[in-house]
Amino acid sequence: MTQPFPFSAIVGQQDMKLAMILTAIDPSIGGVLVFGDRGTGKSTAVRALAALLPPITQIESCPVNSENRSDCPDWAQLGSDKSVKRPTPVVDLPLGATEDRVVGALDIERALTRGEKAFEPGLLARANRGYLYIDEVNLLEDHIVDLLLDVAQSGENVVEREGLSIRHPARFVLVGSGNPEEGELRPQLLDRFGLSVEVKSPTDIKERVEVIRRRQSYETETAAFMKRWRAADTRLRKNILAGRAALNSTKTPDQTLIDCAELCVALGSDGLRGELTLLKAARALAAFEGSGEVSRAHLRQAAPMALRHRLRRDPLDEAGSSTRVARTVSELFGAFHTAAE
């Protein structure tokens, strides 16, 4: 497919779209986990978002998409060091990918045929400065998951094997999707995802028809369809860029910090990562909306996606985690009434 589906043309799925936009504004939020039914546009949204983002400037032959010549890893044999613009990379990590393919390995062919010790970069190198998309992340093999955790946290891929000692930057936004009916995700991995959203197929017939119609016209009259949505996508891109620029100047009042802490204590979320992510997500949201300051309304909107996967699971509580977060938020901040939401 040459042109991905336009992001603005995705019907509904507001939570998922917002979560993805927030990670685009502040990649340090740490990725999105999308859990839900098949065929609800999860992978479409990831690809659409990457296409929406402005292209990155990189050294043409750099295996890790570095922006400057000085950032290119020393093991890379650079062909040309021209600066080129490339679309934000989206790398698929398929199930059953081997460790070698993910982290990179000794280039066996070169080692055996030419006797050279060379490194063949893996998927993590290609995903640097972009998105790493894992469909069915809950079925991923454990040792690959451990690897990803390590790299996602440190932002650096260290390969020490087969006589190689190589490191390269691997900063990417991790987007995982899956269906909880087929297996749970380990709590350790769950916690590393900044935001988590649940998607459901819409039950409204009108909405469903609209989805099908847009998809049909995307497939049959691609050019006209893309043109129709270009303006909306451009507006969104501008908002995201403005959000990125405003991120550092967005103020966080002390009251917001206290609110964050109170909310996390009330929910009993493990560790401090919940608070940090909630704060980052709320700040990215404030920046996206151009509010200048993080308010309770932002916290309220960001709380479910930032906290729902960090609660201690109580198997006897029938209410889902989202409901528990929403309940606690309204208990703490009062009922849902602000106009800003």
Binding site: M1, D37, R38, G39, T40, G41, S43, D92, P94, L95, G96, A97, T98, E99, D100, R101, A105, L106, I108, E109, A111, L112, T113, R114, G115, D135, E136, N138, L139, E141, D142, H143, E162, G163, P180, E181, E182, G183, E184, R186, P187, Q188, K200, S201, T203, D204, I205, K206, R208, V209, V211, I212, R213, R215, Q216, T220, R313, D314, P315, L316
Partner: protein, 561 residues
């Protein structure tokens, strides 16, 4: 369609499917063909050949290099220059996958990505015998059509070839074919009716309607084309008519994902075909047994899926073992030192044989692969006494304990299975799974009451345990009962025989070396159960009036200690 008299209606349907696959292979995504080998299947496969796309065959064990291309190591080593191979997927193709029921989730994920790119078409030939033996859902979801051939008699088929001239005309017409908005809406609504949440089926159904219309010489598909498309695409995916024992309830929109809070929404829009008629047509499009088979197998996929009887590749790295010779297939890792060690003694001989080559002389036969001994996942099999004597409250505790253990278990990567025994027989309520969602659902449906067929319970648990062991898991049996076995294996009410049968099974379990744990939930500890525990060589834990938390704590400490 050459629908000559004397030909089975099912065969006409099969021929139509083959024809549609030739008309629009890419739009339909592919075909899930569930059929054991036999002459009927051969006839059908013969119909499928000669389509517009070149045919390629793949098998569940195919490697990434074969699929996507890569370096041909053997050729590279013998020629001394880098030689690439192109993969099966390099060009648009009609991919025939044999033994699709053994397709791994990894391969399904790769094929899904390929299918989403919209250039290929997959024919998954599924030879599964059991309902759970089937290709991963990620793949079947993307294959538009489904055909079940096992019940078809050879006499009801013919070997007349498809009309390829007609297909060519239909293909030419297809580019201009378009389904109007009413038709699109009808298909979308119908998908929702049938309990299909995903958006792929309606999109495929639209493609199918266009293909059917084109085949019958229409650019605008007619209502009957739409109906046929719905039958072909939705029937096997429908979840709303899932229980074939109960007739599909006519007021379908009271349940399933229909708009409830949307009174003025879609309902007032007239479609040319009433939904009820379409829904009924879809519901009757497949035989009941097939629907039942599909419903049973749905969602029972294993997290680390693999074919029956195969030794599973564990999912942990484990302790390294001595390396062995082998081919680099993209999964195994080369043991470089061992490879060089094998090649070393031959260097001078090989160098004199090929004096103009520099560097090391390595032949494909020198390559050694790393092998790891892998620790396997643990499976906790709960055999729960749901008889009348085990009070209803006790059952609730057992349920609670299982859920608690499961919530701990996913941190430890344990799997859980649940066998309940009551009345005259035992039932496997929950096949081995790691899904909390599924467990909750099955547990809440667990009924109580009746006799205590302890021996049946143990037998079922044993079967699960043997299967799990074959798949590379380490099973542990946890028996929760108050021990008053009163139903024998043959279903007769005979206390002595029941106890004898239970002891016999326990001995077999012990001989198989399966770990076990006996929890006595009776108010007073039962000496009979202590003996049974001794026979099983299992710890005996009396837990009168246990609550869910204590039960779970007891199990955890016994298992870990």
């Amino acid at each position: 369609m050459t629908d000559s008299p004397g030909i089975d209606g099912a065969w006409a349907r099969a021929r139509l499917i083959a024809t549609l696959m030739a008309v629009d292979p890419v739009g339909l995504g592919g075909l899930w063909l569930r059929a054991r080998p036999g002459p009927v299947r051969e006839r059908f496969l013969a119909l499928l050949s000669g389509g517009p796309l070149p045919e390629k065959t793949l098998h569940p064990g195919i490697t990434d290099t074969q699929l996507f291309g890569g370096v041909d190591l053997a050729a590279t080593l013998s020629a001394g220059t880098l030689t690439h191979t192109s993969g099966l997927l390099a060009k648009p193709a009609f991919l025939r996958m044999t033994m699709a029921e053994r397709c791994t989730p990894g391969l399904a994920a790769r094929l899904s990505r390929v299918l989403d790119a919209g250039q290929h078409c997959v024919l998954a030939i599924d030879e599964g015998a059991e309902a759970e033996e089937r290709p991963p859902e990620a793949l079947t979801e993307r294959l538009g059509l489904f055909l079940h051939l096992d019940d078809m008699a050879h006499s009801g088929t013919d070997d007349a070839p498809l009309d390829h001239a007609l297909i060519e005309i239909a293909r030419a017409r297809l580019a201009r074919a378009k389904l109007d908005e009413t038709g699109e809406r009808a298909l979308v609504e119908l998908a929702a009716h049938c309990g299909i949440g995903s958006f792929r089926p309606p999109l495929i159904a639209i493609a199918a309607a266009r293909a059917i219309g084109a085949l019958f010489g229409r650019i605008r598909p007619l209502p009957e084309d739409i109906q046929l498309a719905a039958e072909l695409v939705f029937a096997h995916r429908a979840t709303a008519f899932e229980d074939p024992a109960q007739p599909a309830p006519p007021p379908l929109r009271d349940e399933g994902p229909d708009p409830e809070g949307d009174p003025d929404g879609a309902r007032d829009i007239e479609t040319e075909i009433p939904d009820e008629i379409l829904a009924a047509a879809v519901a009757s499009a497949l035989p009941r047994e097939v629907l039942k088979m599909l419903a049973e197998g749905r969602g029972t996929r294993r997290a680390a899926g693999s074919g029956a009887g195969a030794t599973r590749r564990g999912n942990r790295r484990g302790r390294p073992l001595p390396s062995r010779p082998g081919k680099l297939d993209g999964h195994a890792r080369i043991d470089l030192v061992a490879t060089l060690r094998v090649a070393a003694p031959w260097q001078s001989v090989r160098a004199s044989a090929a004096p103009d080559r520099t560097g090391l002389h390595i032949r494909p036969a020198d390559i050694r692969l790393k092998v790891f001994a892998e620790t396997s996942d643990r499976l906790l099999i709960f055999a729960v006494d749901a008889s009348g004597s085990a009070a209803v409250a006790r059952l609730a505790e057992a349920k609670g304990a299982i859920e608690l253990l499961l919530s701990e278990a996913y941190a430890r990567r344990d799997h859980v299975a649940l066998v309940a025994f009551r009345g005259t027989a035992a039932e496997l309520l929950l096949p081995p799974t790691r899904s909390l969602v599924q467990t909750k659902r099955r547990l809440s449906a667990l009924p109580g009451g009746g006799g205590t067929p302890l021996a049946s319970g143990l037998t079922t648990a044993m079967q699960v345990s043997i299967t799990a062991q074959k798949r590379g898991m380490s099973p542990t049996l946890i028996l929760l009962t108050d021990g008053r076995a009163n139903i024998a294996l043959d279903g007769s009410v005979n206390r002595d025989q029941a106890a004898g049968d239970a002891t016999k099974i326990a001995k077999t379990l012990r001989r198989l070396g399966h770990a076990a744990l006996v929890i006595d939930t009776g108010n007073r500890p039962q000496p009979g159960l202590q003996t049974l525990a001794a026979t099983l060589d299992a710890p005996y834990v009396p837990l009168p009036r246990a609550d869910a938390h204590r039960l779970s704590a007891a199990i955890s400490s016994t298992l870990d200690g």
